[in-house]
């Protein structure tokens, strides 16, 4: 038993070192902008660059739009699958896993080819979406689909969707009331998990924004990386903190619901 414990600790330590050591090195490097001194100069430079705020702002905006459209797509779909089409669930789950199978670069080329004039009716291109952020947001929605769907699906599995819907119907409620007053409030934690995961993904995304020529935080970091040495490391650390912050928030919000569920049982 004790030997097992020791091995568990050793494996954990190796994992932690593997994960944190490069991060610590990056952080340490980001502090060495001024020779022979540890300073936050790289961070000061990063935060005083107007481009930083502009690109960060763009990514933030794209993330918000992605979250809105993801929720509009995923919540009703997942709800309907649970309420009326349970047999379809494995298929829907399969579709949501596609972003793990199809690389982002393939997806973005396919999309820009199809919606950049490739779709024609009688020789006339239709649905030309390049030049609008629609493709970017659509791509982000697809990219975040596995996370958003899974989060919402888990939330829906934790409540008895069918019976709750039927009891609300028998009490005279219409669909708007059922979705907004019964289903949504009971999915709040699950939805917030999906929202934070989507936010974290979009904030650091590079491929879509870069290949579709839209300003975003990912391409900005890449651009700075090509020109400067220390600032990109500072930005990488900021990006990590942002992701961790999102995950931390998710955990913190999720904690309440776990306690509630525990109290029920």
């Amino acid at each position: 038993m004790k030997i097992k414990n020791i091995w568990a600790w050793i494996i954990l330590m190796i994992g932690l070192i593997y994960f944190f050591l490069p991060l610590l090195a990056t952080f340490e490097f980001s502090l060495k902008m001024i020779k022979d001194r540890y300073t936050f100069e790289a961070y000061r430079v990063a935060f005083t660059d107007p481009q930083f705020y502009q690109n960060f702002g763009y990514s933030f905006f794209w993330a918000l739009l992605t979250i809105v459209f993801s929720l509009l797509l995923v919540v009703p779909t997942a709800y309907w699958v649970h309420w009326r089409m349970r047999k379809m669930r494995p298929w829907v789950e399969f579709v949501t896993l596609m972003p793990f199978v199809v690389p982002a670069v393939v997806l973005v080329f396919g999309m820009s080819r199809l919606y950049g004039g490739g779709l024609k009716v009688f020789g006339t291109p239709i649905l030309v979406l390049t030049g609008t952020p629609i493709l970017l947001i659509a791509g982000y929605v697809v990219l975040s689909l596995p996370y958003m769907f899974r989060a919402v699906d888990t939330g829906l599995r934790a409540i008895d969707v069918r019976t709750l819907t039927e009891s609300a119907l028998s009490l005279g409620a219409g669909w708007r009331v059922i979705i907004t007053q019964v289903i949504f409030p009971n999915l709040r934690t699950a939805i917030l998990s999906g929202v934070f995961l989507t936010f974290a993904i979009v904030m650091g995304e590079f491929t879509f924004a870069s290949l579709l020529y839209w300003p975003a935080f990912g391409p900005y970091m890449e651009e700075i990386g090509a020109m400067r040495a220390y600032t990109p490391q500072a930005l990488a650390v900021v990006s990590f903190l942002l992701t961790w912050g999102s995950i931390g928030l998710m955990q913190w919000i999720g904690r309440g619901s776990v306690q509630e569920v525990a109290a029920v049982h």
Binding site: D160, E166, S167, L169, S170, L171, Q181, P185, N186, V264
Partner: protein
Amino acid sequence: MTFLQINNVSKSFGRVWAVRDFNLNIESGELVSFLGPSGCGKTTTLRMVAGFETPTSGVITINGDDITNKPPNQRNVGMVFQSYALFPNMTVAGNVGFGLKVAKKPPEEIKKRVDEMLELIHMSEYGDRYPHQLSGGQQQRVALARALALRPKVLLLDEPLSALDAKIRVSLRSEIRSIQQKLGITAIYVTHDQEEALSMSDRVVVMNMGEMEQVGTPFEIYNFPTTVFTANFVGTLNTADGEVVDPAKGVLAVDGVQFESASDMQNKKKGDKVRIAIRPERFNFVAQEKKANIVDCTIENINFLGSIVRIEVKVGKTNFIVDTFNNPFLDLPNIGDKDQITCSRKAVLVLED
């Protein structure tokens, strides 16, 4: 006067018929139970009345109003579910007042009605609690109050006590019955528990494989089952294959042992094969009481079940169960003893297929 009519209602899911030619008239203020095993179509029938399933054919009317194709949220039919189905994000008062809020009733009226309903279920002080802070029995009472708050035309209860423990089930079923009678509401109660159905209902509909087997008062269903299924499903029953000896006098033979029956055998003739049924409690040992049918038996087994003692006896080649009330001074026979049992002519039922 008939309040709820279910006329020739059938429901199929693909090639499977869940309910076939269901006909039932329910009077105003009546509580009717649908009793049957899993998959017999009782819940499907209830769900068609609620509007969650659309009948493949047939008509459902409430007070003369055809509701067959009405959406469930326009039927004013209250429903109580097995899993309570309380909204976890709302307090007890919020749950009870939900339907009234949806119906856009004034806040004062909502509050008044919620208070009335909570008083009805003896939970006035629980209004601010959330469902997860209540026991199963309390949650189901809140679900009942919620369904009743809108003063529905019909109350539907889908196995509401199945998830509760035995003691609470017994107390809650009398509470549900007394509330239903107090409010005079028409109700349909779905259950697979015969004790529940027999103790609560004005009438019981026994269902099997999507069809009605028998409709009657609990007394009729228990004492005079007309089909083999009803006889077997409701209560414990001795059944045996017999042969008609004298139809005019109601004489039958089981393995050569003769029984007299009070059942109508006008349509039978000598030599016809029949199936007979006798409730275990209708038998007595001859020493205790002498009746029409006196047959020799051998004691095969004795089971002590608390309030009753169940004795298995062999009559000819057929085994019968005899139930006698437990009594500390009862002189029980021993296994292998030769004895005689008896029952009245009325106790010997001739069943239809």
